[in-house]
Each structure stands twice: as structure tokens, then as C-alpha cells.
């Protein structure tokens, strides 16, 4: 019996010991698992903090590959059909905090590697209505600010391409977007000569440094838009913009675009360039969505001339070089879009655009209007091809495969204003086969372009 009791005691104590040992092992394991979980939690917290920083960086971009055909003797330049990459852009946006944003957008298109956008934005954190921009960014204008990844025809209208070459400019901008009103106001100051080619007497561009102003005059731009709700019909956005710019005169005479009037100014004085425009965009929820958009711009553009050089003591070796007067031209241009969605995937667009670089003379006057005084600087200045108006009818059809991919078929019909007298204004060019062609601007010149474009956007 004693033996049995002893064995039972031993067994019970063994079981208790084993249970204790198991409990100790379980506790150790629990502690180990707990440590591991704590370690993982710490790592996740660190990773989350790192990830949080990365979410402040946004990367977007788009690529436009296209095939174009033209039958224009002016646009052939050795090839009348070709593939090209129009855009290859990546946009980096870093929102450091709620109120600060940095944007950098290079364009990697072959042969045109450049920085398109590089700017910082400081948002007012108190009223949340103002923001200050500084760097290189789009000039304030509807068609300029409307990205080509969204635009309904393949190129901007001619008046916009002429007034705002390259779309961007270097400067500063104050934006006002009140939280209680559908109003958007922009006031900007730029170097002003961004994207302009200004030739000297040798034909060299005296504005080659796009990162620096070529004179001390600054240009001012303003744009204001207001959104009006039309209830269930849609909405109407109305706006206006203005440009007040100046360019340093390199000649003491400015010739006006009537080719009759001149103005004497001092060397270094400003040649004024200013224009205003009115715009509207009507969005209608009719048959799946359509819009009408338009803008009219008119004013005076200008460019600097250059001084003449008198003959040296040996006029054979150092002949006199006539200067070229500064030039100011009154211009007008407008565009009108009609855009219609066809289901969720397709869209049709039509744009009519018109640009007259010189509203003071008609096509009949071109090559006839000529300044005739004896001033050598002016006597050779005759109206010409650059004074002719251009009209473009642009038809486009888009198919959206999804949010990222769009295919576009676009046909632009370009029509020129005709010169009154045959043979007065001609270009001697070679066609795609190298054959000489005489382009007479008293006729309609075929400058039509067919474009097939695929755009990938992310």
C-alpha cells in the first residue's frame, strides 16, 4: 500500500512538475511571440512613417506618339509623312506639408529634352484662398493652361501658339481662389521674352538664355474666371485675361503695322506689347454631354529692331549696314470649339480658329503697302507673308480605351488669306522629292495635316 502511495505521489508530483514545466515553456513562448509582435509593430510603424513620406510625392505623366501626313509644300521639308514623339513628360509633385508644393516636369521628347515646369507653390494656410507661385509655369490663359493630354484637338489654336510660345514663362504668380465664391483670379509677372526669338542684324537670337531676361522690363498678366451654374442644364464659365508687356528697343524708330506710321523712341525705351481677351466655356448635360468653348483676343504685339551701322573709313571693307526698325502690329484672333461625347468611350471635336497678325492691312494690300521715305532703315520694310491671316478648321475623333489610353484621329484644314497680286509674295521651296516648288500666296496654299495619335497617360 505504502509502495502504491509512493508511486502515486511520484506520478502526481511528476505530472505537477510537468505541468509547471509546460506552463513555464508556454509563458516563455508567449513572451517570445509578444516580443516578436512588438518588434513587428515597431517595424510597421517605421515603415508606415517612411511610406507616409513617399505618399507626399506624386508622379504622373503622359506620352504622345503620332503619325502625321501633310500635303503642304511648306511643311514637307524632305518628308511629308513621319512618326514622331510629341510629348514624353513625367511630372513630379511633392507636397511637403499642407501649404507647400513643388513641381518639376521634364519633357523627354527626342531632340527636345527640356524642363517644362519647375515651380514652388506656397498656399495661404489661414484663409486658404491665396497661393503664391514662383518658377517656370503656364501663363494664365484658358488654352495654355488646358493640358494637351486633355485637349480635344491636337494643337493649340494659332493665336495662342503665337502669343504664348512654349506656353510656360519664368516669373511669379499670385492666385486667389476664395472658398465661398466660384471665382478664380491670377495675377502674374514674367520676364516676358520667354520662347521668343529676337534676331540681331546678323540673324543671331539675342534672347537665347531662357533662364534670364534679355532686358529689364517685366511683363504683367492677369486672368479672372467665374463659374455660373445653370442648374441641371450644366454650367457656364466666363473669363477674361490681359497681357501688359514691354520689350527694350534697339532702334530709335518704330514702324506701325499700317506700314505708314512711324514713332520715334529712344534707344532702350519700351516697345509696348499688350492685349486683352474674353473667354467662355459652356458645358451642357445634353445627350451625354457637350460643350462650346471660345476666346477672342486682340491687341498690339511688338518686336525690337536693331540699329544700323554707318560705313567705315573704307566703305568697301566696312560698308554701312542698314538697321531694322522696331515693329508693332495690331492683331486679332479667336477660336471656337464644339465638343460632343459619343457614349462613354468616344468623343467628337471641331474647332474653328482664326488669327490675323496684322489687322491694319488686308491680303490685297500685302506686298503693296510699303514705307517709302529715304530712311534706309525703313525703305526695305514691306508687308508680306507674315501679315496674312490664317483660318483653321480642325476635326478630331477620340476613342478612350480606358483612363490611361486615348487614340485620336485629327484632320486640320488650314487656309491662308490670299495676296491680291499674283507673284507678289512667293516662297521657293523643295518638295519631299527635292523638286523645286514655287508657292504663290495669291493662291490657297495646302497646309492640311492629318494626325493619328496614341496617348498613354498615368
Amino acid at each position: 500500500m505504502k509502495k502504491f502511495t509512493l508511486i502515486a505521489l511520484l506520478l502526481v508530483s511528476g505530472l505537477i512538475f510537468k505541468a509547471h514545466a509546460q506552463e513555464a515553456t508556454t509563458n516563455e513562448k508567449l513572451s517570445e511571440v509578444n516580443d516578436k509582435v512588438n518588434g513587428l509593430t515597431e517595424r510597421i510603424a517605421t515603415d508606415e512613417a517612411d511610406l507616409q513620406k513617399l505618399t507626399k510625392i506624386k508622379i504622373s505623366g503622359y506620352i504622345q506618339g503620332q503619325y502625321q501626313m501633310t500635303s503642304s509644300p511648306l511643311l514637307d521639308a524632305g518628308s511629308n509623312n513621319y512618326f514622331s514623339i510629341r510629348r514624353a513628360r513625367v511630372k513630379f509633385t511633392y507636397e511637403a506639408t499642407d501649404g507647400i508644393k513643388f513641381v518639376l516636369q521634364p519633357d523627354f521628347a527626342p531632340g527636345a529634352l527640356s524642363i517644362k515646369d519647375a515651380y514652388a507653390v506656397l498656399n495661404d494656410r489661414w484663409t486658404k484662398s491665396f497661393s503664391l507661385w514662383m518658377g517656370k509655369f503656364n501663363r494664365p490663359n484658358y488654352e495654355v493652361e488646358y493640358s494637351s493630354s486633355q485637349r480635344e484637338v491636337v494643337e493649340r489654336s494659332l493665336v495662342i501658339r503665337t502669343l504664348y510660345p512654349g506656353e510656360r514663362a519664368i516669373g511669379a504668380k499670385l492666385e486667389y481662389n476664395p472658398t465661398t465664391l466660384p471665382l478664380h483670379v491670377q495675377l502674374a509677372m514674367f520676364n516676358g521674352a520667354d520662347g521668343l526669338t529676337i534676331n540681331d542684324r546678323a540673324g543671331a537670337n539675342i534672347n537665347p538664355n531662357e533662364n534670364k531676361d534679355f532686358d529689364n522690363f517685366k511683363d504683367v498678366m492677369a486672368r479672372a474666371t467665374y463659374n455660373i451654374s445653370l442648374g441641371s442644364f450644366g454650367g457656364l464659365d466666363l473669363g477674361a485675361h490681359g497681357y501688359w508687356g514691354q520689350m527694350k528697343a534697339y532702334n530709335t524708330t518704330t514702324l506701325k503695322s499700317d506700314y505708314t506710321t512711324t514713332e520715334a523712341i529712344k534707344f532702350g525705351d519700351p516697345i509696348k506689347r499688350h492685349w486683352i481677351g474674353g473667354e467662355f466655356q459652356l458645358f451642357a448635360d445634353v445627350l451625354g454631354g457637350m460643350s462650346l468653348k471660345g476666346e477672342y483676343i486682340a491687341g498690339m504685339n511688338g518686336t525690337t529692331g536693331f540699329s544700323g551701322v554707318p560705313a567705315g573709313t573704307d566703305p568697301v571693307k566696312n560698308p554701312a549696314i542698314p538697321g531694322v526698325a522696331n515693329y508693332q502690329n495690331n492683331f486679332a484672333g479667336y477660336y471656337l470649339y464644339f465638343i460632343k461625347n459619343l457614349g462613354k468611350k468616344n468623343q467628337f471635336a471641331f474647332r474653328y480658329d482664326y488669327y490675323d497678325p496684322n489687322t491694319d492691312i488686308t491680303g490685297a494690300d500685302v506686298a503693296i503697302k510699303k514705307y517709302s521715305p529715304t530712311d534706309p532703315m525703313l525703305k526695305s520694310k514691306t508687308s508680306g507673308q507674315s501679315d496674312l491671316a490664317t483660318t483653321t478648321f480642325d476635326f478630331a475623333l477620340h476613342h478612350y480605351f480606358d483612363d490611361n489610353l486615348r487614340i485620336t484621329l485629327d484632320y486640320a484644314v488650314v487656309q491662308n488669306e490670299k495676296v491680291g497680286t499674283p507673284g507678289k509674295v512667293v516662297n521657293n521651296v523643295n518638295d519631299a522629292h527635292g523638286n523645286p516648288v514655287v508657292v504663290d500666296w495669291s493662291n490657297a496654299i495646302n497646309q492640311n495635316v492629318l494626325t493619328l495619335r496614341i496617348q498613354a497617360k498615368f
Partner: protein
């Protein structure tokens, strides 16, 4: 190149467009995407509506208000559910892609509810205190009459409409970096349930197993929780509409569905699911 006949080109272009139009998706399949706050109600609406209208297929998913609106802009959904209003930048994108300003339909009301753990002694907070708590300026519960313990913040991801609404109307600044963002209101509720020192926010319909904190406009006001009465009278200070956004004016099956949601039958489900009716 032979010159292209413009008339012929225009005719071909328009015909191609019409063909595209003809192949537009059938209207009796409705895709709904967006707000996680609204998703349980949207699923209930779809479920009940499809029973009485078997020819209509309605597919509902969440993802957040921002995700829903992006999907509306890129054509991936027919209805975007949102617990905030559409931003101006989003309207501009819709204009650019579809040439419309979108259609806003207020389909329910909600009171953003402040979730506390039942073990928490704190039962009432003012908007100012909530702002300071979520900005990280008040870090300990004893600063608002609770125990001496660090406050644990839980909130939504920035694609959430609730995140945006709460930030704009309550926090009025940046969230504290210590605020843990979670994917969905249910996850916020679960986190608060498990942590006695936690505080979170979200839709009223999700408030189960937690303590609902009374909220007061300022120190002089009386605190209250979101109820049909306090929401209707505007006494509860964090009240908002919940929206459905469409690209165009609804027609056909879509119009019937929207009309039904706004009908007494649809609004009855709003109450049943823990939300508040529009009227």
C-alpha cells in the same frame, strides 16, 4: 499625299462616333463605387432593389469617396458614392473628360460619430477639444477629464471622404502624425474596441460595441450624440449629407433606381441601416 476630302472625312468621323455610341454599355447594369461610410447602405439598397427589379444588375463596392469620384471621372463606375462634396479639381476633370459638371444627389444624412472605448471615463468633448486631440495638441486623457493615459488616435485614409470632412470641419489643420490611418470605418471601430485609450471617428451606422462620445459645439453648448432628432435639428455639430454623383442626368434604369432611393421605401432603408433620411 492626295488631298483628303473634308466632307468625306467628317462623315466617316461622325459615323465612327455613332458606332462607338451604339456600343455604349447597356444601361440596366449599374456600377456603384466609393464611400466606405455609405457602402453598407448602398449594398442594402442594391440588394432590395434587385429583388423587385430582377432585370437590373447593381454592383456595389467601397474604396473611399476619392476612389469613387476618380472612377466616375475615368468611366469605371456609373455612380460615385461620396461622404463629402466633389472638389473643384475633380469637377474640372469631369468637365474636361465628359463636358458635364456631374449630377449631385443627396441620398442620406450622417452624423460623424466619435468612438470611445467603453472603459474610457470621458463621455463628452467639444469641437475645439476634438480638434486639439486630432492635431496632437492634447495628448493625454487627463487634459480632458479622463485617466492619466496617452490618447491613441485612429482615423481614415486620405482617400476617404470622412477623413476630408472631419479635417475640414473639426480638425481644421493637419492630423497629428501619430494618428493611425485604417482602411475602413469598421477597422477604426475594431481598433477602438480593443484599446481603452483609443479615440476614432466615422459614420454613425458603424457604432457598435463602442461608446459614442457626446459632442458639443463649444463649452457653453450641451453635448449630444447623433440621433434622428439631433441630426434633423442640426443640434449635433458634425452633421453631413451623403451623396451619389453621376456624370449625366440619369435616364432609364439609372433614373428609376435613383428615384427609388429617394422614395419613402428607399429612405426607410436609410433609417433601418443606422443612417438618417435626407428630409
Amino acid at each position: 499625299m492626295k488631298s483628303i476630302n473634308i466632307k468625306r472625312f467628317a462623315v466617316v468621323a461622325i459615323l465612327l462616333g455613332m458606332i462607338g455610341f451604339a456600343f455604349a454599355p447597356a444601361a440596366d447594369k449599374i456600377v456603384v463605387k466609393g464611400s466606405d461610410t455609405l457602402v453598407i447602405l448602398a449594398q442594402k439598397w442594391a440588394e432590395v432593389y434587385m429583388k423587385s427589379n430582377p432585370s437590373v444588375a447593381i454592383q456595389v463596392t467601397g474604396g473611399g469617396s476619392g476612389v469613387g469620384i476618380s472612377a466616375l471621372i475615368n468611366g469605371a463606375t456609373d455612380i460615385a458614392n461620396a461622404s463629402r462634396k466633389m472638389k473643384q479639381t475633380e469637377k474640372e476633370k469631369l468637365k474636361a473628360r465628359y463636358n458635364t459638371l456631374g449630377v449631385e444627389v443627396a441620398c442620406a444624412k450622417d452624423g460623424i460619430t466619435i468612438y470611445l472605448n467603453p472603459a474610457n471615463k470621458v463621455t463628452e468633448l467639444s469641437i475645439d477639444q476634438l480638434s486639439k486631440i486630432f492635431k496632437g495638441e492634447i495628448k493625454n486623457w487627463k487634459q480632458v477629464g479622463g485617466a492619466d493615459a496617452d490618447i491613441k488616435l485612429y482615423g481614415r485614409e486620405n482617400s476617404s471622404g470622412t477623413y476630408v470632412f472631419f479635417q475640414e470641419n473639426v480638425v481644421k489643420g493637419d492630423y497629428a502624425p501619430s494618428c493611425q490611418t485604417l482602411p475602413g470605418t469598421a477597422a477604426v471601430v475594431n481598433a477602438v474596441k480593443k484599446d481603452p485609450n483609443a479615440i476614432g471617428y466615422g459614420g454613425a451606422a458603424y457604432a457598435e460595441g463602442i461608446e459614442i462620445c457626446k459632442v458639443k459645439k463649444d463649452d457653453k453648448s450641451k453635448g449630444c450624440i447623433p440621433t434622428a432628432e439631433t441630426i434633423k435639428t442640426g443640434e449635433y455639430p458634425i452633421t453631413r449629407y451623403l451623396y451619389m454623383y453621376l456624370r449625366n442626368k440619369p435616364t432609364g434604369a439609372m433614373k428609376s433606381y435613383i428615384d427609388w432611393i429617394l422614395s419613402p421605401e428607399g429612405q426607410k432603408l436609410v433609417v433601418e441601416m443606422g443612417y438618417f433620411p435626407v428630409k
